[in-house]
């Protein structure tokens, strides 16, 4: 097999490999367990799965049990008027609830029974907070009542009594919602095999508390009012946008006669907040109207007030309704701006309501509907495809939230100057230039020659034996290329070249001679292809080898290291003198 054929055979796989590498160099990740596992319809590859150890017995159920166990003692503490302990329990309850909510998010179970449980316990916490506050206020009112009774303050008594009635209704409302929540929690807890006794006890305690506060146990004080204000509302329940009419009469009792009060201002309040006002007519009658707007769904207390006179409390029930949100998006202009317009309806337009325009699920722009329920907003979008939706959250309204159908918008922003990514280009060119510069420096640096190593200038001849004057054994000189073949002794030749070409050239001449002798002795073909050090290393088992190695070391210093000073010259000549006799003068 000729060398050429061997090289050709080698070239084929080499070129094949280079070609294969070039083919895959665009996607250098050839194999990765995470990316390469094929989708088996039968099982997952555990090696490619991330470890996430979860145990319902250790991680989930204990939290659920804790949440249920806290509610019983909480209600009991409120009933026993130990508000401080109730507050501490509520704090712990809140912490546990937050932990559980985080777990639900981590387990990605936001639409499950577990999430429902989490929401119910969160609502339970809010209800218990409300209960604690209302209960504390009720206690305060009872104290005030005693005080006013002792003072004979009839107006104060009336006001306290009215507020007390309101609070009791509110607590009853809280109880109704708490009961509903508690039932959901108990059902889920029983499904999970948890102990629901504490939860059931909390409901019983709450029920007992409500009956306690509503029982007519205490003395009912009926003040002898001199002024009476009546109120009746129609209808007693409604939905968003419904018109509610309140009417009544303001009378003053004087002896056995009732006299109507005319021209007196009357205010209607919902949940102690005044909403509308009117005045009595000559017969003392009044009418107040209002439209159900930004009020939450549920039970609300209404009363009419004129001066220090208040009517009895009437209840208005607001029923929640569904809403629909429509959205239309204009085509994007040159700058990527789109006009989003739409309408929020809940049976009728929802006016002055906040609407959120959400694009790509993470960016939110807020706007308001006008009196007709219409909204509009301008949104600036970057290049690319985006989804936009309008969302009405219904917070504070007796309207269920709704979201429009997401609209897909494609934005292409064409600028006059072509959008060349300047920064990435600059960075890429910079990095490549840096490394290219590094490559150039790597190629340009000389091997093994430090910059500070400047050859010393030739010093004047020092006293000492001059080897040029010493007789050296006659050696036959191998003919150099293009040179006549004189029988010039080595020493003379060395001296001649030293004078004309310097120490470096002279040393080379000597080395060539010595190397030739060594090569002949060791039968090394083409010894000129070897470096001095390689030739020195090839020299083994001959008595002159150590001396030759020393000679080579000195020669390299002179020839390649640039050491041309007198000490270096002397050292070289010494070595030359020591080496040549070992090689003998025999020809082969």
């Amino acid at each position: 097999m000729t060398p050429r054929f061997r090289l050709l055979l080698l070239a084929i796989p080499i070129l094949g490999v280079i070609g294969a590498i070039a083919a895959i160099s665009a996607g250098p990740l050839i194999y990765s367990l995470n990316a390469e596992t094929f989708n088996s319809p039968f099982h997952e590859n555990p090696d490619a799965l991330k470890t996430q150890v979860l145990n319902s017995t250790d991680d989930v159920l204990p939290l659920m049990q804790d949440l249920m166990d806290y509610s019983g003692p909480l209600v009991l503490n409120i009933r026993l008027k130990d508000y401080e302990q109730a507050r501490r329990d509520l704090e712990i309850f809140t912490q546990n609830n937050n932990k559980f909510r985080s777990l639900v998010v981590r387990l990605d179970m936001n639409e499950s029974e577990i999430a429902e449980f989490s929401r119910s316990t969160a609502r339970q916490k809010e209800l218990l907070q409300d209960l604690a506050n209302s209960s504390a206020r009720l206690d305060a009112l009872q104290n005030l009542e005693i005080q006013y009774r002792e003072q004979g303050d009839r107006n104060g008594l009336v006001s306290v009594r009215l507020e007390g009635e309101e609070l009791k209704k509110k607590i009853h409302g809280i109880y109704d919602e708490y009961k509903e929540n508690s039932e959901k929690i108990t059902t889920t807890g029983e499904t999970a095999g948890l102990n629901t006794e504490s939860e059931k006890e909390s409901l019983q305690e709450f029920d007992a508390y409500v009956r306690e506060i509503e029982s007519p146990g205490t003395e009912v004080y009926t003040p002898t009012r001199t002024t009476q204000l009546t109120l009746a509302i129609r209808p007693e329940s409604g939905v968003y946008g419904d018109r509610i009419e309140g009417s009544g009469q303001l009378l003053t009792q004087s002896g056995l006669r009732a006299r109507s009060e005319t021209g007196k201002p009357v205010t209607l309040a919902i949940d102690t907040v005044p909403v509308t006002a009117s005045a009595t007519d000559p017969f003392g009658r009044y009418t107040l109207n209002f439209t159900i707007g930004r009020l939450t769904a549920g039970t609300h207390s209404l009363y009419a007030e004129s001066g220090v006179t208040r009517s009895f409390i009437e209840t208005l029930i607001i029923v929640p309704v569904n809403s629909t949100t429509n959205l239309s998006v204009s085509q994007p202009d040159a700058r990527g701006e789109v006009l989003c317009t739409g309408l929020v309806l809940a049976g009728r337009p929802v006016s002055q309501a906040p609407v959120e325009i959400v694009w790509d699920k993470t960016h939110v722009t807020r706007t308001m509907t006008d009196a007709d329920g219409l909204f509009s907003a301008t949104v600036r979008l970057p290049n690319g495809t985006h989804t936009i939706a309008a969302r009405f959250t219904g917070d504070g309204y007796p309207i269920r939230p709704s979201q429009s159908e997401p609209q897909v918008v494609e934005v292409i922003i064409r600028s006059i100057i072509p959008q060349i990514p300047i920064l990435p280009l600059v960075v890429a060119i910079g990095i490549l230039s840096l490394f290219a510069g590094g490559s150039w420096y790597y190629l340009r640096r000389k091997a093994g020659r430090p910059a500070a190593d400047i050859p010393a200038p030739e010093s004047p001849a020092l006293p000492g034996p001059d080897i040029r004057d010493e007789p050296v054994p006659e050696e036959e000189i191998p003919a150099g290329p293009g040179e006549p073949a004189p029988m010039e002794p080595l020493a003379a030749r060395y001296a001649r070249i030293l004078n004309s070409g310097g120490l470096g050239a002279a040393a080379r001449e000597v080395y060539l001679h010595v190397a030739g002798r060594v090569a002949r002795r060791l039968h090394i073909p083409r010894h000129t292809a070897l470096t001095p050090r390689e030739l020195s290393r090839s020299c083994r088992k001959e008595p002159f080898c150590p001396q030759f190695a020393t000679f080579v070391a000195v020669y390299e210093r002179v020839r390649y290291g640039g050491y041309h000073a007198a000490p270096a010259r002397d050292e070289f000549e010494n070595e030359m003198k020591n080496t040549l006799p070992h090689l003998g003068g025999d020809d082969h």
């Binding site: 590498i21 250098p28 990095i431 190629l443 093994g448 292809a529 470096t531 050090r533 290291g561």
Partner: protein, 86 residues
């Protein structure tokens, strides 16, 4: 053993070790393999390099190393651009 033969054997062993680790980790990435090859080659060339002379087998390998450094620069630039794009 001659230096260049020893160098080739050491480079071969080094690449076998790198390849084995890639197989064990189930992740065969050409970029990582190239960078480790370049590091191995740089170390070997620096160790082989002679102080005062330039042997024939080292003369052209330095161009290969220089080309490797430029390609490495290209890989670094690509990675930086990926990070910037994020």
């Amino acid at each position: 053993m001659r230096k260049k033969v020893l160098a080739a054997i050491v480079l071969f062993i080094w690449l076998m070790v790198v390849g084995s680790f890639m197989l064990l980790a189930s992740r065969i990435d050409l970029e990582i393999f190239f960078v480790l090859w370049l590091i191995g080659l740089l170390v070997i060339v620096e160790l082989m390099d002679t102080r005062f002379s330039l042997p024939g087998y080292l003369r052209y390998i330095k161009y290969l190393v220089a080309a490797g450094i430029v390609i490495f620069g290209g890989i670094v630039a690509q990675k930086v651009l990926e990070i910037l794009a994020k």
